[in-house]
């Protein structure tokens, strides 16, 4: 028995904070366009990310059409195919997932969940969005310049990325890509500083770190990682720009292009790979950790049960973040590295599975004997867990050098990372949108449309990526524009390819239902009220819905408990908001 004293009078006054210089919009423009309010910035980030994501979706359609019906669509020649691959990958990983999780959900949820009025540096926060938009525009400009966007593959490996044989390599394509990334990183750093310092300094009274919702833990850790990892991409981009524009040889070896000896010499393409993957692997977890956090909150809320092993969840997030910095070379097993390094990186890679598995077990144990409500956010969260487990298990195969080497250049890898890093986080994004849309707009998303969207997306993505594992095991290579007659690929494999393409078209089209739902519910959706999910966290306790500028009326909230007081025995409701003071001055006894 542990005795925990509560405050003598129960409630304590809100913290006496000095008047924060809250930014006050003066005109329509500064209120809705050049706004410094994190909530508006979040919506701007999200809409931009979703828009550019739709471009990437269409690109994936075009790729799939080419793979299923090679030669049928005359405009998809080899060059275009590589451009589609490159832009699809880069947009999805950086401009959609990173921007949406950190810029979108981070901006909306961090101040609200922590009981702050806004981010600590609102002006830099606004700049962050506009610089991000600029980066997106530079990226899109690639489609309209001579030579088109770069077709170097999303990893942009030199030397091919800057040679004339690659689409955009000797034109504008690669330059715009590199500039866009550099601009993105500058913009992200401004936002990232905000997210980190707000978590450090902007928490409401009583909101200790161990009372923060796991969503904030995930976003916070991911931001710290991104701040440390993005500089690697920055350096790599700058050095490649030097190679391409100023004739240096950071990455460029001596090379003959079109029968002509280039002036480069001695550079190391492997150096680029190290820099790129030093960013690239943490990037996987920069996307995954916010997803982990959000899923934890969705499951706990919609199963009306406290999260199982909260401490373990927090530690796992931190440990995964740290480990992800020492596994980067598992993307380079086929680069001819020293086998001892391969062994080291395979080991660290497999070790990451331990904290990740802890998280999966804890989600399942949270569901165990919970009061599961199969709402849309819950459905998406459940779909995430199975998808993530499936994708993660193939990651265990690929983490081993001997298994990776033969599979590395096949569709197996494509299937693996689309399951674990494409579909899984996207499912969380959808779940999170269905969950928080009522707070953002004050209205519920339509349930029927949501179910159509969910089932087609969930089952459809499985129909796409499960067979792809099999194609990979058959040896069907990735990155190939057209296979032609190949001995080891049976005709049935091509039938499977057609099936995958049809499913990809269907799943893509199902997203129209989602977009329609977003717009339709904005005007016609059911009124949500302040706390439709009966959730405990602070963002559901705002005086107005949608939250007004400044979030919290006159007084900041005071936090008395952790974020997961669901179905507490003996309490009248099945949830106790974090702001609810203890009942009376009694000393509670808790079974330890």
């Amino acid at each position: 028995m542990v005795e925990i004293p509560s405050g003598s009078a129960g409630a304590v006054p809100a913290a006496e904070v000095e008047d924060v210089e809250l930014y006050h919009p003066k005109s329509w423009w500064t209120k809705y366009v050049f706004s410094q309010d994190a909530k508006i910035i979040a919506v701007q980030y999200s809409l931009t990310a979703i828009s550019i994501g739709l471009v990437a979706l269409v690109l994936s359609w075009l790729m799939r059409l080419q793979l299923a019906f090679p030669g049928y669509f005359a405009f998809i020649d080899a060059n275009h195919y590589y451009q589609f691959i490159t832009m699809h990958g880069m947009i999805m990983v950086i401009y959609l997932l990173t921007a949406l999780f950190l810029g979108g959900f981070g901006n909306y949820l961090i101040p609200l969940m922590l009981g702050a009025r806004d981010m600590v540096f609102p002006y830099a926060n606004m700049l962050s969005y506009w610089i991000y938009l600029l980066a997106v525009l530079i990226l899109v400009a690639g489609f309209f310049v001579p030579g088109g966007p770069t077709g170097a593959g999303w990893t942009l490996y030199p030397p091919q990325a800057v040679l004339s044989g690659t689409p955009g390599g000797s034109d504008w394509g690669i330059l715009l890509m590199l500039f866009s990334l550099i601009v993105f990183i500058i913009g992200f750093t401004m936002g990232g500083l905000n997210y980190v310092v707000t978590v450090l300094q902007g928490r409401a009274r009583g909101m200790t770190l161990m009372r923060m919702p796991l969503t904030v833990w995930g976003i916070f850790t991911a931001t710290v990682m991104a701040l440390l990892a993005f500089p690697a991409l920055f350096v790599a981009c700058v050095m490649m720009l030097f190679d391409r524009l100023l004739g240096t040889s950071f990455f460029m070896p001596a090379i003959v292009e079109m029968g002509e000896q280039l002036q480069h010499g001695g550079g190391s393409p492997i150096l680029f790979q190290h820099l790129f993957w030093f960013f690239g692997h943490p990037e996987v977890y920069i996307v995954a950790l916010p997803a982990f956090g959000i899923v934890s909150d969705l499951i706990s809320t919609h199963a009306r049960k406290n999260i199982f092993g909260y401490r373990m969840m927090v530690w796992a997030i931190v440990v995964i973040g740290a480990l992800s910095f020492i596994v980067w070379a598992h993307h380079m097993y086929v680069s001819g590295m020293n086998p001892a390094f391969g062994f080291f990186f395979a080991t660290t890679t497999l070790i990451i599975a331990v904290p990740t598995a802890i998280k999966v077990y804890n989600w399942v144990l949270t569901l165990w004997r919970g009061d599961i409500h199969l709402t849309l956010p819950m459905l998406f969260a459940l779909a995430f867990i199975v998808t993530f487990v499936n994708g993660g298990l193939t990651g265990l195969f690929l983490g081993n050098v001997v298994v990776d080497v033969p599979l590395s250049d096949t569709l197996f890898v494509v299937a693996h990372f689309h399951m674990v890093m494409g579909v899984a986080p996207i499912l969380v994004i959808f779940g999170a949108i269905y969950h928080w849309y009522p707070k953002v707009t004050g209205r519920m998303l339509d349930d029927f449309l949501g179910h159509i969207h969910f089932w087609i997306t969930f089952l459809g993505t499985y129909a796409i990526f499960f067979p792809m594992h099999y194609l990979g095991l058959l040896g069907m290579p990735r990155r190939y524009h057209e296979l032609g007659d190949t001995v080891f690929v049976p005709p049935s494999a091509n039938t499977l390819n057609v099936f995958i393409t049809v499913m990809a078209l269907v799943v893509g089209a199902a997203q129209i239902v989602f977009l329609f739902n977003l717009v339709w519910s904005l005007f016609k959706g059911r009124q949500a009220g302040g706390n439709p999910w009966r959730a405990t966290t602070l963002e559901w306790q705002t005086p107005q819905t949608p939250p007004a500028h400044g979030n919290w009326g006159r007084d900041l909230p005071v936090v008395y408990r952790w974020a997961y007081d669901y179905s507490v025995p003996g309490s009248a409701e099945d949830f106790i908001p974090q702001t609810q003071p203890p009942s009376g001055g009694l000393t509670r006894e808790v079974v330890a």
Partner: protein
């Protein structure tokens, strides 16, 4: 990539030290209903948010430079590397940057003790010395170019120009902020504690960039080579 791993280990140390003070072992589910402890940090914010923000930003800048230096060492191992001679002017530039940092330290102390009279002089000195440093760096570039050490000739040259350029850009960014602070000193209506904070932040940033420059200088002068060789042997 050893340099960046060492840097990350340092950052990791800071993170662990910080997390150690955050009651990570507590059991929040058992604390149900307890009032926030009276000594909650929130009531007495130990450092202003901008200062924390600056430290986080310096972490990012540190990552940027340690990654560049990692790349420097990895590229150095290849056969086509000839060290670039260090122009003598760099010694003078280093001295100027040290003085600039020193002037800011002086300004910081003056501001802390509320002696605002000498503040404009100190800030102006720091500002012009930093400008002088940048001019000196550009002059050093010109000397190297006229001696035939051009950018694309050799990876050592490329790294020299790129790293000094990156460092110069960061100094330039600091100058913008320092310039604003200097202007503020002359404006009458700026509260003193805000001014003190601005000077404080400029000093921290300047010291950090000085430290980065000293490390880069050691790198260019080749003094680190023996140490690196030693490390290589230890690893292999």
């Amino acid at each position: 990539m050893n340099v960046v791993l060492i840097f990350l280990a340092l950052i990791g140390g800071v993170v662990i030290w910080w997390l150690a003070g955050q009651r990570l072992m507590s059991k929040p589910w058992l604390e149900t209903g307890t009032a926030p402890p009276a000594t909650d940090r929130q009531e007495l914010p130990s450092e202003p948010a901008v200062k924390i923000g600056l430290f986080v930003f310096l972490g990012v800048v540190g990552a940027l430079f340690s990654l560049s230096v990692s790349a420097y060492f990895m590229r150095m191992a290849s056969a086509d590397w000839w060290a670039t001679p260090v122009p003598r002017l760099l010694w003078a530039n280093t001295a100027v940057l040290v003085l600039s940092s020193g002037a800011l330290e002086w300004a910081k102390r003056e501001a802390r003790h509320d002696r605002m009279e000498s503040l404009p002089l100190a800030l102006a000195a720091a500002f012009s010395l930093a400008v002088l440093f940048l001019i000196g760096q550009i002059q050093a570039w010109r000397e190297l170019v006229s001696a035939g050490y051009v950018l694309a000739d050799n990876p050592a040259n490329s790294f020299f120009y790129m790293l000094t350029g990156l460092h110069g850009l960061h100094i330039l960014g600091g100058l913008v902020v320092l310039g604003r602070t200097t202007v503020r000193v002359f404006a009458a209506d700026v509260p003193r504690d805000r001014l003190r904070l601005s000077v404080d932040l400029s000093a921290i940033y300047s010291h950090f960039m000085l430290a980065v420059w000293l490390l880069l200088f050691v790198l260019f002068a080749g003094w680190a080579n023996d140490f690196i060789d030693l490390c290589r042997q230890l690893i292999s």
